[in-house]
Each structure stands twice: as C-alpha cells, then as structure tokens.
Amino acid sequence: MNKPAAKPNSSLLSRLRSAGPATISSRLLGKGPVTPSERQFAAYLDTIGIGAVVLLTIIILMNYLVDPYSIFGSPSWEGINANKPELFKHLRLTKAYAVKTRKPDALVIGSSRTEHGLDPEHPALFPEFNTYNLALNGATIYENLRYFQHANAERRLKKVVLAIDFFQFNAYRPNAPDFTEKRLSSDIHGDKRKIAIITDMLETLASVDATTASLKTLFQQANRDNVILPRGQVEQPDKEAIVMMHGGRHEAALYSELNYVTHLFFPRPHKKFDFVSEDGSTNTFDYFRRILEEAHRSKIEFYMLISPAHARQWELTASTGLWDKWETWKREIVRLNEEIAQERRRPPFPLWDFSGFNTYTMEALPVLGDKETMMRWFWESSHYRKELGDLVLDRVLNYSDPNRPIANDFGVLLTSENVEKHLASIREAHQRYRQSHREEVKEIDDLVKKYQPH
C-alpha cells in the first residue's frame, strides 16, 4: 500500500476530468498498467455506488407504478398495466390489501368454486352493500376464518355468504405457501391489531420476484387467462378456448378428478383425509366454529352453503372411500350450526346444501375427445360457472329473477330434523346414478384405482 490514498474529498467530477483519454480507453479494455492506480479503484467504487443507487431507484419506481400485485393503488393505464396477469398467483397478498383499501361491509367467502362462481355484484348483494369476493383458491377452512376475521376487523361486516367444500376440512392440507398471518389485521381471537407492512412493502417493491412480475405485467397485457375483477371475483375470459385446446370438457373433468385424488383429498406428504390431525394440532371443525361464533358476536347477516359440483364429483367421493366421511361432515356442520346458535341464544344461520344429484349437477358431460361441445353449468366436475352461481345466490338470498327460474330440486335447507332424510335421499340418488351412468362410473373407478395412494 505505498500509493497515496485518494483524497476523500476529491469529487467524482474532478477525478473524471483528470482521467485522460488514455486512462479511459485502457480502463475499458482492462489493459491497465500492472498495478492499477488509486484513481481507478476510486472510479470502480463510484461506478458501483452511483450505478446501484440509480438502478435500484428505477426498479422500485417501476414496481410501484406498474403495481403488479395491485396493492399500491397506482394508476391503471390501458395497454400498459391495466391487466395484471401476475395477480392470480398472489391472491392472498392482493386480497388482503384489497380489503384494507376497499373496506367491504359484505363478503362472499369460500374456495375457488366461490371465487369463480359467486358474483359479488349479485342484485341481492350490490349496490346496497360494498361487497367483495374474498374467496381464496384452494383455501383451507382456516384461511377462510383468518381472512373473514381480517375483513371484520377492518370494518364491521353486515352480510356474509360462506360457501364450504368438503376438502377444505382436511386437517392434512396445509395453508397455501402465500398465506401469512403477518398481514392480517386481526388475531386468531378476532381482536384487531396493528400490523407491520414493512415486509410486504420490501417484497413488493424491491425484490427479484416483484421486478419479474412487473416486467411480465408490462409484456403480457394480452394474457387474459385469469382476470381478477375489482370486487375479487376471478374471471377466465379465454378459459373456454383453453379447455378446448387441452382436449375438451371430458378431458378437463378427468384432469380435475386426478387432482382430487392426488392432491385435494389426499395431499402430500401424508396422503390422508381427516378432520383432526393425528397429533391433534389441527381441528378443522374448531376453525369452522370460530367463524360462526364471530358471526354471531358481530351480529352479521350470515348465510352458509355447501357448494354444488358435478355428479361425477360425488361418484369420486364414493370411489375414494370418503362417502361416509362426507356424510359425517354434513351432520357435524348442521350440529355445530345449531349448537353455537343455542349457546349464543340466536337462531341458527340458514345452511343450504347444493351437493348431490339434481337437475344441474347431472348435466351431461361431452364424450372424451369432443373438443366442441360446451357445458352450460360447469367447467369440469369441480368448478361451476357463474350462470349456476347466480342461481345459488338467488336461492340462498331469496331473490327471484323471472328470467332465470330455478329447478325445485336445487338446494335443500339443512336442519337437524331433515339431515338424515336428506343424506338417505342422496344415497339413493347415487345408486340410481350408478345404474344409469355405468360408463362414467367405471371411468372414475379406474382412475381412482390407478392413482389412489396406497
């Protein structure tokens, strides 16, 4: 270290000026003198310092303006960032912040069936209420509970429709990787709390992920595979074409059923279905109980429903050996609803069951290989279309539209008095379905035999 140190106060400009053209070209080519001068080291550090600050500022600014996760409320420019294709992968982030900014007083909650099918702008919900679809794809009942509490802490809710699915009550299904307690404005007991948003801010402004998301948003404006509407409902404008491209409705049904066998009903790594986990740490009915208790406590106008799904789904439930558990689940839901109401000295919440075999769920599935025939009510055996969702909400919210009559067999109001009779009638309908749809039944049984974990 025998060279004199550069004077700390010598400015960048003066250094640049004193560096002659020879130095600059030799610097560019990297063929400097054997021992580079202190000046070269200083220029090296200047480049890094200034470059890093400028680049980071540009990136943060871009992420803020493009707002790929839709959490900053940045302006939306058509053709630049109006469409946000990255949202769909980060719904738990986006929806948590949407609740903070929109402060809805009415909700639709549930899993992806609800997210796609139930319209928050249904006339019985909107515009009288500021309704938001807070359903989360693949949600566990725990996630539904926590987001419900989050919204109720942000603003006291007036009206809620909760749509539940059997698979949501599997204690072996973990919460989604993008679920985090930290961004929710309520603790597990329903008490409001202050939350630190610094982590979310750093992640969404200054991370590689946010930057790639911004770039994808800028360059994929035409990608309309999954559009998140302002009120939280997911719309898939190109889904019809995509389903057809992938082999048609029947193929889509098989794919969804395969996913139920390998993921939703028997999730990795345990590959088990139960309401209470082996170590007792998770009891999904307990989470359900907390939802009802908070709804009573906050005196919310609360409606519950068991989602419709195609008849093939119930055959799949039987074939995977879960039928008895499915019935137990319904009995327990009915029992808890009445028990908690009694504890609170309030009437139980209306609980509608749309599952089973009825006019809509028995809709014919096009044959395998048919890439043209569409279905009126379903996407595949698990997800129903908005058209059916409208009927569901009409029934639950007691709304009638002369343009869309509802078949009488769609939706049964469940109580402890009629639940056994209702379950028996579904069992009978299932037997009749097996008789009349031998081909489809065999197809599902084969699929289960082939893929069900042993």
Binding site: M1, K3, A5, A6, P8, R27, L28, G30, G32, P36, E38, Q40, F41, A43, Y44, L45, T47, I48, G51, A52, L55, L56, I59, K89, H90, L91, R92, L93, S112, N137, G138, P174, A176, P177, F179, T180, T199, L202, E203, A206, S207, V208, D209, A210, T211, A213, N226, K239, V243, H246, A252, Y255, N259, T262, H263, R268, P269, K450, Y451, P453
Partner: protein, 520 residues
C-alpha cells in the same frame, strides 16, 4: 445481525466503516479500535443482548490468563494454569452446547432422572472457544508476544468473523491490528473487499437459498418418517450438499470481504472443495481453518503420525469424531465425523498401498472424484437429517430401496411401456410426491446449474488472486486462473458486473411467495 439483511448492509456496515476511518485517519488509532470493538459487540448483542456479558467475561478471563501464562514462572504451575484455562473454556462450551444432549442421553438410558431447561446456545461460542484455546496454548508455549488489551478484544470480537468464522489465529491477526496504515482510507481495499463481499452475498442469497427451497422440504419429509423414493432422496442429498457449500463458503467470502474493507486479511476457508479427487484433498479445501485447528490442537497433540500407523489412524478417528461433535450436539454429527474419519483412514491406507499412482491418469482422477464426491454427499445426509429415521429414509432412497416413482401423467404418455414399468414396481405418484412444493424440472435445472458452478468455475480467491484476497493455509493453494482474462481488475466492465450483482443480491434478500392453484 446477519450479513444478508437490510439493516446490516444499509446501516450497520456504512456507519461502522465511516466512523472508523473518520476517527482513524485523524490519528486517534486507539479510539478507532475501540469503536470497532464497540460495533462488533453491538453486532453480537443484536441477536441476544443477554449473552453480551458472557462474551465480555470470557474475554477478560482469557486475557488475564494469557498474560500469566506467558510470564516467567514455575513450569508446573503454568501447566496447571493452562489446563485450568482450557477446562473453563471447554466447560462453558460444554454447558451451553452439550448439556441438553448429555441430559437427554442419560435420561434415555436410565429413564427420566435428570431435568434441565432447554439452554439457548450463544451465537458463535464454538468458534470463539477454539480461538481462545489456541491463544492459551500458544501463550503457554511462549509463542505469543505481549499483546495489547484492545487488540486482544478486537481479535475475539471482530464482527466479520465473530459468529461463523473463519476461525482466525492470533498469530495472523494481532500483527495486522498494530499496523499504522490500517487507519488510512484506501479505495483499493474497499474495492477488493466490496467485490468479495458481493460475490459471497450472491452465493448465499441467490444460490444457497435458491437450492434450499428443495433441500429443506426433502429433509423435512424424511425426518417426519416418510420414506423418500429414489429421485427424491438423490435430489435432496445433492441439494443439501450444494446448499451447505454455497451457504458456508458464501458466508466466508462475505467475512473475508468485510474484513478487507477494514484493511484486515482473514485466512482462506474454502477452496473449491467439491473439485477434490480424494478425501485428504477435500479436507484441505473444506472449512480449512477448522481442519487446521483440528490438526494443530487435537491431532498433533494426540501424537499425530509419529507413533506408528495404528495410533495414527486412532488419532485421526478421534480428531474427526471431535470435529463432528464440534458442529453440534447430536449423534448425527458423530456419525458424520466417524464417516469422515473412516474415509480418511481408507484414503491413507490406499495411499500407502498404491502410492497415489492412480491420480496421475485422467481416468484415475475421474474415478477418484466420483468416489470422493459420493462419499461426501452420503456423509452430509446424517449431518443434515435431524433423526436416524431421516438418515435411513434418504440413504435407502438413494440405493433404490424405497422404490422409484414417476409423474402420474407419464403413465398415460408411456402407455404399454408405463404399465410394464408399473409391473416392475415403479409407481406413478409423482417424481417428488413427498416433497411439498417441489417441481422436478425446476429442482433438476438448479441442481445441474449449481453442479456446473462448483465443478467448472473458478472460485472467488482465484478471481481475486492478484490482490491477495486471503491468507493461505497451505502455500500456493490459491490456484492460477486457467483463463487469465477472467482475473478481476478495477475496470469499467468489472465495476458494472459487480454493481449488477450487488443490485441482484439486494433484490434477492426477500421473496414474494406464490401459489398456483391447479388449473388449465
């Protein structure tokens, strides 16, 4: 405080550098050293202030002991003093690191007869204890000079090496603290140091954390009693092998780079260990400051290779078992140490039989590399797994005893052939059926890319070779670059590359988790 965190990079580092040179360049050298000790203690206390007292008490104790050891006196009383000093240091380490392990084992054998609260391990105590023992031993041998108290404090607390090494030796640190040019702001040191730090940060936050996304769930599944299938087990073991290397060598690079910004050189700690063609070579390249300590303060005092071949092998095994135990209180670390002890014995026996002839041919080297690498990968399994069940799950999986599984879709695509495979016992539950969130194509590309990285790219110190990035433990171990144009120089191109790397590092300090629900 972690090096790879916002508060460290954007507050702690700039402030400590600025004040150090602001004070030092005005001639207040002792104040500057005191400042550096102060920020180092703050760095330590950030994690758990309660243990700051412990650190300070241990510094005072060892310094006082060092002085009495190096002063003239009765040799027998000095010997007892040394034994006392080592015993105190080891019992401190023993209490914090091994008490729980000891009690658990007693309770396991004799039933629950002892009760002890879970003790939190003070950060870096393993590293600090080793440094102090070396200091005491050398003071006893009369190899230490009269050390300045401030310098001694800095030697122990200097934050770049405080919590995860390299394990520095007083002989190479103390003289540096005494140099007058330490306090001169030097753009050269900053440029070199910052570049090394940036490369190390990249290894940690991009490479190690990237591959950990596979290693962690794989080992988690194995430890929770799930038998991993062939591909899961191999990918898990390889992913951890790479994660540990990039994590630890990245950390060492960061330490070396940070120290350099303060004008201090640290010893080299990693030298492309996975390029080794035998286990002896591996231990000259992996965590070098630890193997140096084990050699000088365990293996040689035990007699080294001077007491015949049998004692030599026993000494080797004892040294490696202790090295295993040093990494953590658990039987799995003993297994790891025992395996490496065994590997080393085999390696030495092989050498005395064949005289290293095989290593001269290309085929011989390829064979040597393969055997060495497989042995190292297999040994990392018990090192990482928290349970014997986990180790067994992965080892059995790697030899195919837990079956082979392919993607469900493959059964449809493969048709007849698929059914034939199914007949052979191949299942179609998914390649990574038991590993949450892992995708075969993603994990596969990561593994491939990182293997190329460790096998074919030059390491940090090779790139920086012209600027003496670190002390060499073995002379000439920083190899020349095969391609000289790659050597680092303060050029515009290198400046921009380093700047981009740094920006990428900063953007990688945090991640946005995503969830893609199954759909078309």
């Amino acid at each position: 405080m972690l090096f790879n965190s916002y508060p460290f990079i954007f507050l702690f580092l700039p402030v400590s550098l600025f004040v150090f040179f602001a004070i030092g360049s005005r001639g207040h050298h002792r104040v500057a050293i005191a400042w550096l000790i102060g920020v180092s203690l703050f760095f330590y206390a950030w994690w758990n202030p309660a243990y700051l007292g412990l650190l300070l008490a241990s510094i005072l104790f060892n310094y006082a002991l060092g002085i009495s050891l190096s002063s003239e006196g009765h040799s027998s009383s000095r010997k007892w003093l040394l034994i006392f000093g080592i015993a105190v240091n080891l019992s401190l380490l023993g209490y914090y690191k091994y008490a729980n392990f000891f009690v658990d084992n007693i309770n396991f054998v004799f039933g629950d007869i002892l009760a002890v609260e879970a003790i939190i391990l003070p950060l870096g105590i393993s590293f600090i204890t080793f440094q102090k023992i070396a200091y005491l031993v050398d003071a006893y041998k009369g190899e230490t000079k009269e050390y300045n108290f401030l310098h001694f404090c800095l030697f122990v607390t200097f934050f770049p090496q405080l919590i995860a090494g390299p394990i520095v030796h007083h002989r190479e640190m103390m003289p540096q603290f005494a140099r007058d040019d330490l306090y001169q702001l030097s753009v050269r040191r900053h440029a070199v140091g910052f570049t090394i730090f940036t490369i190390g940060l990249f290894k940690k936050v991009v490479l190690a954390d990237g591959i950990a996304a596979y290693a962690t769930p794989a080992f988690h599944a194995a430890d929770s009693g799930i038998a991993l299938t062939f591909f899961e087990a191999w990918a898990g073991a390889l992913a951890y092998t790479l994660q540990l290397y990039f994590d630890f060598s990245g950390y060492s690079d960061m330490a070396i780079g940070l120290a350099r910004m303060f004008g201090i050189r640290l010893p080299l700690n990693f030298n492309s260990p996975y390029k080794s063609t035998n286990i002896i070579d591996f231990w000259r390249r992996w965590h070098m400051t630890l193997s140096r300590f084990v050699r000088d303060y365990i293996y040689i005092p035990l007699g080294g290779n001077k007491k015949g071949p049998v004692r030599r092998h026993v000494n080797l095994m004892v040294a490696m078992l202790l090295a295993g135990l040093w990494h953590g209180a658990g039987w799995n670390f003993m297994v790891w140490g025992g395996l490496h002890g065994g590997f080393l014995i085999v390696n030495h026996a092989w050498r005395s039989l064949f005289g290293g002839r095989a290593a001269t041919t290309r085929m011989g080297r390829a064979f040597g590399w393969t055997v060495t690498f497989l042995a190292v990968v297999a040994a990392w399994v018990p090192f990482r797994a928290e349970t014997i069940t986990g180790t067994k799950s992965i080892w059995f999986g790697m030899i195919g005893a837990n079956g082979v599984s392919l993607e469900p879709e493959a059964l449809r695509v493969l048709g007849r052939f698929g059914e034939w495979l199914q007949g052979l016992g191949v299942t179609f539950d998914g390649i990574f059926a038991h590993v949450a969130g892992a995708k075969p194509e993603v994990a596969g590309s990561w593994l491939l890319a990182l293997m190329m990285f460790v096998l074919f790219l030059p390491n940090t110190q090779q790139l920086m070779r012209n600027y003496h990035p670190a002390f060499e433990t073995y002379k000439g171990e920083i190899q020349r670059l095969r391609w000289r144009w790659m050597a680092w120089r303060p050029t515009v191109i290198w400046a921009n590359l380093t700047m981009l790397l740094f920006v990428f590092d900063v953007l990688s300090l945090t991640k946005v988790s995503e969830f893609l629900y199954f759909q078309f």
